[in-house]
Symmetry: C2
Subunit: 320 residues, 2 copies
């Protein structure tokens, strides 16, 4: 950690480190010292958001801070992990104090909400780029992976789909501002990482993934990793009602299948365990929707109410 970045991190981000459990030594040394505790495995993921690619440059700094951490924690949710700590690599064109104050407040709010602590940081001069490494823990052997699904397993998703793409379309129409985003844009700026759902599905889901690149693309990773295929029912997709109201059924369905940024979990369970999933939904208030079933034929197909396969134009977000 270099001289003045130490100053920046100290000034703006040290508060974010406060609630950490298992933090023996946080920000301010060559590295953090962390105690994962007994009987657990460490779960680690990194995600980068680039201004102008992953979010509008002109957006509210606090919303960017919230979103940056929430989307990273979504990967921990997909593993069934409990978030513990995170490290931030931040590139900034200038040391804009207003922006830093807003961004660090948003980051601290999300960190407090999900009970994880900032334990390391590095700031450099460059295009606005936020790279977060999130660290969590799972009981040894209990992580949810993409590779455990079998033919016949049911495919489910949490929450609703299409809302984030609708918010993004609305922002592109209106232009994003540095003001707080409207409540309707919350699906984009404040995605809810499905941490409690992921943790509850440990030992129950045969596979899980978070929908960051679009349902078809992400379910595609699961079926490839598990050596199976999937049949989805178009009518079963749980759609964002706000998105349907603003953009219609057809557009929202297309987004639900192919747009990224929903950050719901897509998971599979053997049919014999569906009752346990339903009991969990009832007891804990989780929203789980069955959207299809795994098949032997590779690939992911979507069928309409008459059983006809639906043609899909786009299959998710691609960076290159």
């Amino acid at each position: 950690m270099a001289t003045d970045e130490f100053g920046l991190i100290e000034r703006f981000f040290k508060g974010t480190a406060t609630p950490g459990i298992g933090v023996r030594l946080g920000i301010g040394d060559d590295a953090a010292v962390l105690d994962p505790g007994p009987g657990v495995e460490l779960v680690a993921t990194v995600d980068t958001l680039v201004a102008g690619v992953h979010f509008p440059v002109t957006a509210c700094a606090a919303a960017i801070g919230q979103r940056a951490l929430r989307v990273n924690l979504s990967d921990l949710a997909a593993m069934g992990a409990t978030p513990r700590w995170f490290l931030l690599a931040l590139s900034l064109p200038t040391a804009d104090e207003d922006w830093l104050a807003g961004f660090s407040t948003g980051l601290a709010t999300a960190a407090a909400r999900y009970g994880c602590a900032l334990v390391g940081g590095d700031t450099t001069r460059g295009t606005l780029t936020i790279s977060i490494t999130a660290l969590g823990t799972v009981p040894t052997g209990a992580a949810l992976t993409r590779g455990g699904a079998s033919v016949g397993d049911l495919v489910l998703v949490t929450g609703t789909l299409g809302g984030s793409a609708a918010a993004l379309a609305e922002m592109q129409r209106n232009g994003a501002t540095r003001a707080q985003p409207a409540a309707l844009d919350a699906d984009y700026w404040y995605p809810e990482p499905r941490l409690t759902e992921g943790q509850a599905l440990r030992g129950l889901a045969s596979a899980a993934i978070d929908i960051s690149d679009g349902l078809l693309a992400d379910l595609g990773h699961v079926v490839r990793a598990s050596g199976v295929g999937a049949e989805l029912t178009l009518d079963a997709l749980p759609l964002s009602t706000a998105a349907v109201a603003r953009f219609g059924l057809e557009q929202t369905r297309a987004w639900a299948l192919s747009a990224g940024d929903d950050y719901q979990l897509c998971f599979t369970v053997p049919p014999t365990r569906l009752a346990e999933v339903e009991a969990l939904a009832g007891a804990r208030g989780f929203q789980f929707t069955q959207i299809g079933r795994l098949a032997g034929t590779p690939g992911v197909r979507v069928r309409d109410a008459a059983g006809r396969e639906v043609a899909i134009a786009e299959r998710g977000f691609r960076h290159f």
Copy 2:
């Protein structure tokens, strides 16, 4: 991890993950699952290198890959930690396959040399920026920190100083190329993270830091964290003989005090334990040089052979 970045990471970087010990699940899921093992604490650090700021854009991609990991591991060395795993966030202007092949080879070479595995990655489009989160372990309670030094403790450094700044000056004079750097530039491109030294100093050094921003700036962090000051002896500084031969004694001394990128460890020991440090140097072939002593007066002062305080123009690398 998004669709095509998965493809890039799979193609170029998956080999880097091979030697990992304690990797239950590496690249290819939402997150990695890692087993730190019993009786240890986790040590975590993040460092970012931006092209044109931290290294010349035109440099050899394999050398950049080596350097990026080595400078991160230097922070683990300063904690006395053993490197285990790392995550890579890579921003690239284009998916240049030659560059990726070179960079990933350099990264894999350094990973194999230091026994740590790539367990997660994210690639985005942007200015060439390499952000690495390095994860290591130390026996519980054994991490070396900046804050444990006392008045009267001796100040030592590993290796020699000034060589990296000399190499950088030489490159700026000649222009860096994509060819393999000359052997004389090794101090810049292939800094040796002092991992074995750091691990050997556990339980012996009262404080430690790596010299990434310059000796005075980094020792300044130690004395502030420990609530002490330091007196250094100018003549005692172990200088790079290649740097002295090319740039003279005075310039090399200035670099040794204030230039960054040396990646040696600066550490302190109580005088009563100097014999143990010397025995370690003899038995393990470590190069340790005593360069000063901690004092009660805050700040770091440098004195010449006559005991006069030397004026220092620059005090280390500043990012902002």
